[in-house]
Symmetry: C2
Subunit: 347 residues, 2 copies
């Protein structure tokens, strides 16, 4: 059973290649092809199991029915979940996804954009590292739909979906203050990316309003977790007055909790904790961790929605749409009222 071509269908049915092609591309009506023939062709295609070659079609049309999805790392649970949800919705619309991991590396990302461009992807979903403004802008100028998420590039005018980082961090910090904490640190990744800057700003806003002093540790992300744990330990040792910490991302939170475990610091007695990003197993921790949960499903849905929208729209470069979604703070044991009864009992 060898590969069928459009010619085989035409010959098998004793009609013209053209007709088959038109029917395949939904131009039957436009080209005044009889319904009867359309049905006959569709039935035959079913029977013999013909599937047009997307490669040949791609070469001819320049379209690929593929969406390029670039995230920091596909092994990150947040991105993996988003990828999965996007894949599902895209699939229903006949689009496939090619993912790739940027490692948040500018040069690698530029190269990956080229790879995707070569493959003629029809649209891009990018969680961009810094420094790729030029390349992304060129894509947009070339008429490519581009949607960013998680963070965005302020100098690039296109759709994006993010969460309200600043108010979320501000709320969480104020919440800690209301719970009685006054020496509140923030441990986050050093980054020029919008989401990290927003979180830091929100934290600082809250402290400034209350006249409290900020304690900030910005660590460089590295796959060497031990390095990050060690950095956090040193910070905690250097700042013994801290009674609460806000973590700017789940990886920071997880490293921080490890550092605290190693130092035998108790949560929340010695240090209250709130972390950005939620994970359901937070509930199983020695002290369940209060977390700022991102609306993952909604993010994925919005992202692919915006992209499909542009893909359909075809022509007009619509105004960039900026979607900001709300987070939800899941309050758990790691941030109970300072010196509360519950806190004292647990001693």
């Amino acid at each position: 059973m060898k590969k069928l071509r459009i010619k085989d269908i035409a010959d098998g049915l004793k009609i013209s290649k053209t007709a088959v092609s038109f029917i395949l591309n939904g131009k039957a009506e436009e080209k005044r092809i009889s319904e009867e023939l359309v049905e006959r062709v569709e039935k035959y295609i079913q029977e013999v199991g013909y599937r047009p070659s997307p490669i040949a079609r791609g070469l001819r049309t320049g379209k690929s029915n593929i969406i390029g999805l670039m995230v920091e790392s596909i092994s990150d649970p947040f991105f993996a979940t988003i990828a999965r949800l996007i894949e599902n919705e895209a699939y229903k619309e006949g689009y496939r996804i090619i993912y790739c991991s940027t490692d948040n590396d500018t040069e690698k990302t530029k190269e990956l954009i080229n790879v995707l461009k070569d493959r003629n992807v029809d649209g891009y979903i990018i969680s961009p590292p810094p420094g790729v403004e030029k390349e992304v802008n060129e894509l947009i100028k070339a008429g490519m739909p581009v949607v960013m998420f998680d963070r965005y590039l302020p100098k690039v005018k296109t759709d994006y979906v993010v969460i309200d980082n600043e108010p979320s961090a501000e709320n969480a910090t104020k919440y800690l203050i209301r719970q009685g904490y006054s020496n509140i640190g923030m441990i986050t990744f050093s980054s020029s990316l919008t989401q990290m800057k927003g979180r830091l700003k929100g934290y600082k806003n809250a402290l400034k309003e209350e006249g409290l002093k900020p304690y900030v540790l910005e660590i460089d992300f590295t796959p060497e977790e031990k390095v990050m744990v060690q950095t956090i330990r040193e910070f905690l040792v250097a700042n013994p007055k801290l009674d609460a910490v806000l973590f700017g991302a789940i990886q920071a939170g997880s490293c921080g909790l490890k550092a605290m475990t190693q130092m035998k610091l108790k949560v929340p007695e010695d240090l209250a904790v709130i972390s950005f990003d939620d994970h359901d197993i937070f509930e199983l921790f020695a002290t369940p961790v209060t977390a700022i949960a991102q609306p993952i499903e909604k993010i994925a849905h919005k992202v692919i929605g915006l992209l499909l929208d542009r893909l359909d729209a075809e022509g007009g470069a619509a105004e960039p749409r900026e979607v900001v979604l709300k987070t939800k703070m899941k309050i758990r044991g790691s941030s109970v009222v300072k010196n509360s009864k519950k806190y004292l009992e647990s001693k």
Copy 2:
């Protein structure tokens, strides 16, 4: 700046298209093209930033430089991590990856195989659901390199990489017995897949050797976690004699621990726990969980190694290679000696 074609290079350099193509494909020597010209062409290509169209090349050659990676769900941390590692190694060899999630659904998988076939992927990495033997065998018969991992299809003769599920489960169970537990349950997913069957068998072997009674719960996997938690709760209520549980997979373990938390069962006082699959945050749990860790890096490395090997080999259908890797049991607090001093102290 429009898209460059091979003709533009030839014209720009005032040489023939053919020569450029030969040089591009590393056939310069074979075709007796002077080194001087090769250098000139390479330099020019660099300068103008020409990149051959993989689509046109694919149409012509039938090769795509793409590897299809099919896993149960790309959002599963185990698969996401493997995917990431494979992506990295493949990238270095000039291969791109297209991932897709099968949901362990037979029909969906068949369709996805077709999609990948249409895209002319050069090789397949599959963590297969049951029931796709025929389709996979057809791929192999068509000369496609196929590597399976995590589980395999006994009726399909091709390379695979798995772990030693049976001995691992047997060891873990025997370990629990040595720790003084005698009513040991196993909670796992109902599945005809090799890895699950191996784990169950190992557990039963250990019990039989010691003349102990098995208590098995096989749950159907569902994305509705609450359903699984509830099922486990009912099982635990129905079997109050249990003093230890072996979980057959991390999702089962995580649901089980949630069920136990809800029921206020203490680990390991009321129930000792060992789970297949490790996660570094297990250390942060109220009681750190003893886990059977898979050598993820090694698995990924082997998988892509086997595939690249076949991709290079070109011709001969080498003998199927079956790689079985060892797991490592990470002993933590959830499986301490029954009634041990440590155990009693913690009361």
